[in-house]
Amino acid sequence: MKLLVRPFAFIAVLLVIWQVAVNRDTAQLLPGPFGVVRGMGDLLQHGLLLKYVVASLFRVTWGFLLAAVIAIPLGLTIGWHRRAEMALSPLVQIFRPISPLAWIPIAILWFGVGDLAAIFLIFVGCFFPLMLTAMSAVHNIPAVYVNVGRNFGLSTADFVYRVIYPAVVPQLIIGSRITLGIAWLVVVAAEMIAVNSGLGFLILDARNAGNRYDLVIAGMIMIGTIGLLLDLGMRSLERAKSFRWSYSED
């Protein structure tokens, strides 16, 4: 609890400064904290806040999970087979620096305006980071573990399940945490263009339909808060006892 006192006190101070600054400002460049709270109340009243949060989380969940299910096994396999990696590496290096947002026109062309397009964009944004994480996780498996696995005569399935999987899981969790952060960044941008709901849409729509900057900031605060919660969730996974071995070792 004590740990939380300082950050909250600091936020309170910032809010006061914000309100004071807005009061002295005549140009109305920003709504004050009370205005934003009122805006959030409006959204809640119309049932939009929950609806948009759920819509954004829905897209992130599907985009992220689909990418994880495909990219992680693929990355592990490619990382294990050096020759496959040498063949595919240039291709990956070309795709990787392309911002997921560059895919927006293609996403809309293929999937139209709707959830699928947004999910596709998040999928693209998560795919390469997850694949590269999986590849490097395989590379970092100490040779000793591999040799012990071979020595005890494990079948391929057992070897994957009892040596490879436990050896890479801590790194995959760290990579997933970072990638989920990326997904959360991408969803906001995707929703500004490819769909008509979600927190990203809220921000753009609030500006276009009557310059409601209180709603814009309300949306930003929701994005930040949910992003923080997602990260905390992934961090708690890192601390799970069964995965803790790799952090306590050195």
Binding site: V144, F152, G153, R162, P166, A167, W245, S246
Partner: protein
Amino acid sequence: MATETGMSLPVRDLKLRMERVGMAFERDGKSVSVLEDINLDVSDGEFICLVGPSGCGKSTLLNLMGGFLVPTQGSVIIDNQIIRGPDPRRILVFQERGVFPWLTVEGNIGFGLAKLSRAERRERIDHYVQMVRLQGFEHTFPSDLSGGMQQRLQVARALAVNPDVLYLDEPFGALDSSTRLILRGELLRIWQRERRTIIFVTHDVDEAVQLADRVVVLSARPAKIQNVLTIDIPHPRNISSARYLEHRDDLLKRIGLAYTA
């Protein structure tokens, strides 16, 4: 004193034979020879120590015997069959980090026992937990064990699958000297009780003279067998007896020669 037959060692079956074994690695497009013309016969239940200058290829030799590497020349034969790969009948114990950090002491010892019934596995685990004196640590993860305990755990995991041959690659090399001394004693105790064939790589002369039936001295790279010394002192060996010291000096001299060879 021991004469040629004085020790009345029983004639034991041949376990492992190395026939004109050579090993070369490709490095920068060039072939670098590491081992040349290694010939050695090891009897069943024998304790062999491999010594030689560091980097001479002792570990490579052990990896060849374990089936982790394939020799570029000659062959390694165990029980009259050429080795084709690693096998649970021959377990290699590594110098460090050999235990799985994600498994407890129990989980590590039981690693090779998946095919046994639950009751058998339980019994086997308990037996080897006791043998390496890790009682009370069954549910501890390796990160909470000392280096010496981790090595005992690795030996226990190896013994649990009932191998005929145990390869140990400087298993106590990373430990402090008093722990090393204790573990040597424990290894001897286990060996005398279970009589596996043991091939033990070390650069520690005392370790070799204290443990081995025979000490194989390798020369500098490309390594050949320089000498094979028989240590015919019964266990437990008195490490300040004249005969022990004689063997020790002899071995030191030969290794000194190996370094300059």
